[in-house]
């Protein structure tokens, strides 16, 4: 079973040379720490920046320079600032190669719910609906089950949707799965995790074809 940093490490394996990537709040943000040395990956922050860098050194914070999670950040050489319309324009036009974001639920048809829990204070969808509706490659990073132990990979989402049929892949503490026309398909298991455990914790339709390799972390 992976911890959050290991999930981020596994997600980082999805990065390819030259990719423009948008990382959501939470585990996805940690992916930035595991970009392989020498791999040229450019991070997009939807509040108006391409070429996001690390957090600033103490004392180097600039209030004009934040990411979409409102955290102080830095830039890398070759960065560019732009307004929010251009930012979502490039997302909508499919120029961002990969979006990684968290979710409360994912359905076997790739629907995602991650913005609203009925009865709780609704904070809003921010840029999530734009990202999931537009990005060509969407990977969800989340825990396989909720705190009650219930599966978050469902036949269909119970919570209000953020986007429909958009998730391509899911990385959890237990497994890597892709979404196919047949539902979830198990690709990898976390070290020490059995296929049986993954099957038991996946409520949506799940196909398991042949031997399932362990993730390389």
């Amino acid at each position: 079973m992976l911890n959050k940093n290991q999930i981020a490490q596994r997600l980082a394996q999805e990065l390819q040379e030259g990719f423009y990537v948008n990382l959501g709040i939470g585990i996805p943000t940690l992916v930035a720490n595991y970009i392989p040395a020498g791999l040229n990956v450019i991070l997009q922050s939807e509040n108006g920046l391409l070429g996001m860098g690390a957090f600033p050194w103490e004392g180097g914070e600039d209030p004009d320079l934040i990411n979409a999670g409102k955290q102080t950040i830095t830039t890398v050489p070759g960065s560019a600032f732009f307004d929010s319309a251009m930012s979502f324009g490039m997302i909508r036009a499919g120029k961002v190669d990969l979006t990684i974001l968290g979710a409360m639920e994912v359905s076997e048809t790739g629907d995602i719910a991650n913005w609203k829990i009925p009865g709780k204070m609704v904070k809003g969808m921010g840029g999530a609906m734009d990202l999931v509706a537009s990005a060509k490659n969407i990977i969800v990073a989340m825990m396989h089950t909720n705190p009650k132990g219930e599966s978050k990979l469902l036949p269909q989402c119970v919570l209000p949707l953020t986007g429909v049929a958009c998730v391509k892949k899911i990385v959890t503490e237990l497994a890597v799965l892709e979404v196919t026309s047949e539902g979830f398909n198990l690709l990898e298991r976390a070290p020490g995790v059995s296929v049986e455990e993954i099957v038991s914790k996946t409520a949506g339709k799940l196909t398991v074809n042949g031997d399932i390799p362990e993730m390389m972390i």
Binding site: P56, D64, F81, D83, V122, G124, M129, A133
Partner: protein, 235 residues
């Protein structure tokens, strides 16, 4: 006829109760601090505010919420403050949540004279309910309308007496879009310079979109999430 106003009081003086007001900024980054301060002091009320966020309890639009000056909030992400939540749950405050890209593009549409735009954001979700859906090349899009706002309050880094604006880093965000989108655009700037001092190749908002401009003062520029790397003591 000059666009240059003396201060924040003068510039918002005719902004009436009940107005639809856009406020630039993302979180607390690039918000029109001076204009908000003046609106709070004046007590202008029943406002409909269009802004990506609603500030925190004691800063930004949060200050206006504390004075109950906001009747309706149109935003993409809110609730960083307790007073907002209280007013929302008690029904004092009306809230309309809009996907962030839709919010930005509806501003752009207004500034570019396009009555409506198409976006896939929200298709198949409750955001799309009751809206026109249209399929282009096999993909569904929602038709969303250009905003109609009375005032835009934006914050730029530098501005000139012709109304040209330049923003700094991610404090740009919604500011240039809202600057284009309202009937009357009010810009506050950290530094106001004479026309001709800004490089015409690097104006973000051309002066034609800006009706009033003034040099702000006492910028706090509060940081919402201070995140830093600790310097290693042995470096």
């Amino acid at each position: 006829m000059t666009k240059v106003f003396k201060n924040e009081q003068e510039v918002i003086d005719d902004l009436p109760d009940g107005a639809v007001v856009m406020l630039g900024g993302f979180g607390l980054c690039g918000i029109p601090e001076n204009c908000i301060r003046a609106l709070v002091a004046k007590g202008t009320k029943d406002l409909t505010c269009i802004s990506n966020n609603a500030g925190v309890d004691d800063f930004g639009i949060g200050l206006m919420l504390q004075r109950r000056q906001v009747r309706k909030m149109i935003a993409s992400y809110v609730g960083e403050n307790a007073e907002f939540e209280r007013q929302l749950l008690s029904g004092e405050l009306e809230v309309e949540l809009i996907p962030q890209g839709t919010l930005a593009t509806r501003c752009l549409a207004a500034g570019y004279g396009m009555p409506a735009i198409f976006t896939p954001a929200g298709v198949g979700t409750e955001v799309g309910m009751g809206k026109e859906v249209r399929n282009f090349n096999g993909k569904d899009y929602l038709m969303e309308y250009a905003f109609e706002a009375d005032y835009a309050l934006v914050k730029a880094w530098k501005g000139d007496t012709a109304g040209n604006l330049v923003y700094r880093e991610t404090a740009r965000n919604f500011n240039p879009l809202m600057a284009m989108a309202a009937k009357i655009t009010i810009a506050e700037v950290e530094e106001l310079v004479p026309a001709g001092e800004l490089d015409p190749d690097h104006i973000h908002t051309p002066g034609i979109y800006v009706h009033r401009i003034f040099q702000g003062r006492d910028y706090e520029k509060r940081i919402e999430q201070r995140t830093v790397r600790k310097k290693e003591s042995n470096v």
